[in-house]
């Protein structure tokens, strides 16, 4: 087994364990307001960090492919027009692919 496959299996089983804990733990453990606020902020902070890493991490140093940046910027414009995830995906990917093809 490769390290990647082992990591896939551990993360997948861990994800299930979190769901199982949610339907099994006494409510008082998860009902704490501070715990709930942190849980609400977790995906916001982490998803933003993921976007930054996807855009600017060239293997441990800053690097930005301007075609990808323009593609994602086009996706943001789609979001401003209330587009859903799929439209944003199509716009970002299409713009990036076209820039690679033409420029």
């Amino acid at each position: 087994m490769t390290a990647l496959l082992v990591a896939v299996v551990i993360a997948s089983l861990g994800s299930y364990a979190l769901k199982l804990a949610g339907v099994s733990l006494p409510e008082s453990v998860l009902a704490d307001p501070t715990v709930q606020r942190i849980a609400g902020f977790l995906p916001i902070a982490m998803l933003t960090a993921l976007v930054v890493v996807e855009l600017a991490d060239g293997g441990g140093r800053w690097s930005l492919d301007w075609r990808v940046a323009v593609g994602v910027a086009a996706g943001i414009i789609a979001l401003l027009f209330r587009a859903g995830v799929l439209v944003v995906f199509v716009v970002a990917v299409t713009v990036t692919a076209l820039l690679r093809l033409l420029v």
């Binding site: 990591a7 009902a31 902020f41 977790l42 902070a45 933003t48 960090a49 441990g60 990808v68 994602v72």
Partner: protein
Amino acid sequence: MTMGSSARAYPAVLRAAIGLGVYAGMFGATFGAVSVGSGLTIGQTMILSLVMFSGASQFAFVGVAAAGSPWAAIPAALLLGARNAFYGVPIAEILSPRGWRRLVTAHFVIDETTAMAVGQAEPRAKRYAFWATALILFTLWQTGSLVGALLGAAVDPERFGLDAAAPAVFLALLWPSLRTRSGQIVAVAGGLLALLLIPVAPAGVPVIAAVAVAVIAGLARR
């Protein structure tokens, strides 16, 4: 009377569940293509869709793993999946699952099933909404993932701009959270911290460090 109004609610619930399922199928295809483009095999991609079965966690896993760090991908996926544990509280109340039923129910506790179940007025409609959404969405998510993975394996991902897919999808996922001031502050702080850490920290750490931002923001009095 109760039975009658429940029965009338069911077609509407089913229509909404099918709508979510169609969306999940296309989103699943996106994931499949991004995952294979990130260097995972089709089999590894399907383990994530079948067993992890939580969209944002799956994207986070392949995003961090693609940066070269499969071990950092584990906490990244689990920390993003932590919200599913919190969904378990209302779901346990609605379904009161016991024994083996609890083991099965737990697997389907995600954003969409929770929103659909909590959104119904009556207990029977809540249970129906949970299971209708769970079964339709699970089936189409798997189908979409497999189709996307097969297509992603057949093409050169960069040529088709698929390296722009992950950041665009993450942005779209967090977009609704940016309506509040606190959401905006947490997002900017998490992004800035990641940016500063890229040249100095090992792969995966810039994403996991964002947890500190969430904890500090959660502890701070508003």
